[in-house]
Symmetry: C2
Subunit: 71 residues, 2 copies
């Protein structure tokens, strides 16, 4: 995942935005979503091309629709 793709950047920004709105740390979000601390960081920095199942996990953890993270 070099040369970061626009859609991953948008997604990461949105996750970070909502996470902060909720007053969660990356570690707390990771715990709720059952993912690893550093992985959340990588997603927010658009360093990984996230899969649909993990998109859903994060949306659930943030209590938003997937729509809200992508469009």
């Amino acid at each position: 995942m070099d040369s970061k793709q626009k859609i991953l950047i948008k997604f990461g920004e949105r996750v970070r935005e909502i996470r902060k709105e909720k007053g969660l740390s990356q570690e707390e979000l990771a715990h709720i979503a059952d993912l690893h601390r550093t992985y959340i960081g990588m997603i927010e920095r658009a360093e990984k091309n996230i899969t649909l199942i993990n998109i859903e996990k994060i949306a659930n953890a943030l209590e938003v629709k997937i729509n809200n993270l992508i469009n």
Copy 2:
């Protein structure tokens, strides 16, 4: 990817539905989306956990919003 996840099943069904509406074969869709023939089949059968970049490729190829494929 055994024990297929609901969200992947929904996604696959939706891709197949729209693909057929457009009168495209899996091979034609694959070509437009720049993905492999058999991979489109696997996605429609919910056998693979698709990544965000490929979700976007398929949405573009089908000329729909990602929303349309997920929610």
